[in-house]
């Protein structure tokens, strides 16, 4: 397999875009990535596009061809990837694998989604299409519901009083909003930067024990990246960011995973696969962009990826280990909570943040001496899990 590198990245401002279509959002992100890639349009051989619920939010499916045509790539193979919230991470991983295998030299990848504009009821139902469509949705299980179930089970299993766990969960929201508030591309840029734990605890209850501020927002947005074989990338750009390892895993419904929902076994498998491919361990990772769709989700993720022991992730947050000046900065771009979560665009937006950090271009909230970063994207109730390790060092 060949080494693969990222040439360029782009993302729209995350937030509310009632005046931009799924195509508009993707095209905007794509051209930002294209402009910094030093290639011509005709060099791009295929498009890997992630979108989750275009049918429900925009009445639009079969999206990949429209995306390719919009950006001037009529006729190239264009494929839509759907893995719920991990859609564009799946697209990125498949794109990287195709280049690594030598099938393509340069490809475009990205995603777009419009959940904010769709409104809360449609948005909540659209997101709920990622739970088991027969046995879970019938009870009205929502996405906040999935992680609320996990939060209560976490408290019970690790014998932490629920109120104590809620405070530590709130610290995730405080941290991620602090970083989101200084990221100009974030949905909450300039907002909620000085949130207090009490504000999170006392905000509106969504699905007990998760309040509104335990949840990431509904978001519209687009993201894109252009990747190439490493040898080609080194001739094109000053600082190629190498795709060192990727991993992916799957699972069925929550009820099939039982008590493992707080151990996120598919994430453990995906992360181990990525570490193995990168010939690295968690100690080699300088910072992570993690799928904090809910506060408890970030805590569970840091444990399953191997950064902390099971049941200890909450204390890492409390003790500042996951802050930007801690041992393992988590979500310095604000994460899904502070930056926003345009589902199908989220995974590649995490790649965007990691690439910008590694190039030293993340001016607002730089991680000191960052050479290797990792993304973590969760689709559904652990049904699709993708991890990507990126580094300025070629293997």
């Amino acid at each position: 397999m060949r080494d693969v590198a990222v040439l360029g990245v782009g993302m729209t401002k995350f937030g509310k875009h009632p005046d931009k279509s799924l195509v508009d959002l993707f095209a905007e992100a794509f051209f930002e990535a294209f402009e910094e890639s030093n290639i011509e349009l005709k060099d791009i051989q295929a498009l890997y596009y992630g979108n989750f619920v275009g049918e429900m939010t925009d009445g639009s499916g079969n999206l990949s061809g429209f995306m390719a045509d919009e950006i001037g790539l009529r006729g190239i193979p264009a494929i839509r990837y759907e893995g719920a919230c991990a859609s564009s991470s799946v697209a990125f991983r498949e794109a990287a694998r195709a280049v690594a295998a030598g099938y393509y030299d340069i490809v475009a990848v990205g995603g777009s989604e419009r959940l904010y504009t769709a409104g809360t009821e449609i948005g909540t139902r659209a997101l709920a299409t990622a739970v088991d469509g027969v046995y879970e949705i019938t009870a009205g299980l929502t996405f906040p519901g999935v992680f609320a179930l996990a939060a209560r089970l976490y408290a019970k299993t690790y014998e932490i009083p629920l109120e104590e766990l809620r405070e530590m969960m709130a610290m995730v929201s405080v941290k991620n909003h602090k970083y989101g508030a200084i990221n100009p591309k974030a949905q909450f840029y300039g907002k909620l930067g000085d949130l207090k734990v009490e504000d999170v605890l006392n905000s509106r209850m969504i699905s007990s024990p998760l309040t509104l501020l335990d949840c990431c927002p509904m978001t519209d947005g687009g993201s894109a990246a252009i990747i190439a074989a490493a040898d080609i990338a080194e001739d094109l750009v000053d600082t190629p960011v190498y795709v060192r390892g990727t991993g992916q895993s799957s699972a069925g419904g929550l009820f099939r995973q039982k008590e493992d929902i707080i151990r996120a076994i598919p994430r453990k498998k995906a992360a181990e696969m990525a570490f193995k491919e990168a010939k690295m361990t968690p100690k080699d990772i300088d910072f992570v962009e993690i799928h904090d769709c809910f506060t408890i989700a970030e805590i569970i993720a840091t444990e399953a990826m191997g950064f902390f022991e099971y049941g200890q992730g909450c204390y890492a947050v409390r003790d500042g280990v996951t802050s930007i000046d801690g041992d393992l900065p988590v979500n310095p771009d604000g994460g899904l909570i502070g930056k926003g979560h345009p589902v199908g665009a989220t995974g590649v937006s995490q790649v965007y943040s990691v690439v910008k950090q590694l190039r030293g271009e993340f001016k607002e909230n730089p991680v000191k001496n960052a050479e290797t970063g990792m993304t973590d994207t969760l689709g559904g109730d652990f049904g699709t899990l993708v991890n990507i390790i990126l580094s300025i060092h070629r293997r």
Partner: protein, 138 residues
């Protein structure tokens, strides 16, 4: 076993699952393969319909199609035979808020309740929800 068989039985007060003739474990709701060993050597059986609450959440913001029913409390129950199922606790919301985490571990019996279906639900005639009746409450 078809998904409707599970829900039809539930409306008759029965929880049906599958016993694996290879490893002896139980799968519920039904699946094409044993949830433990992936064997297809399965036999439909009636389960006890009893179990314990392992976790739960009261949903205040419901999806389109479910808003009339909110707030409602979704729970995962571990059946005595081992499988976990998703359903709702049939207590009033105030009672659930009062009990909080103490509901975890409470014994329940399972029955089915019919609700109106919604455009995206696979059964276009009706939607059946497994309901959990908490035992031993005054």
């Amino acid at each position: 076993m078809r998904f409707v068989d599970f829900f039809n039985a539930l409306l008759e007060g029965k929880v049906i699952g599958q016993k694996c003739l290879d490893c002896g474990s139980y799968t519920c709701p039904p699946k094409a393969t044993c949830d433990n060993c992936a064997s297809r050597n399965l036999e439909a059986v009636e389960l006890s319909g009893k179990g314990v609450i392992r976790t739960f959440t009261t949903t205040y913001v419901a999806p389109s199609g479910y808003t009339e029913e909110a707030p409602y409390t979704v729970a995962m129950v571990e059946l005595d035979e081992g499988p976990w199922i998703v359903g709702r606790i049939d207590l009033p919301n105030e009672e659930i808020e009062r009990l909080g985490q103490d509901l975890i571990g409470a014994r329940v019996s399972v029955y089915g309740k019919e609700f109106p279906t919604e455009p995206f639900y696979p059964d276009k005639k009706r939607r059946v929800v497994p309901m959990f009746k908490v035992e031993g409450l005054r």
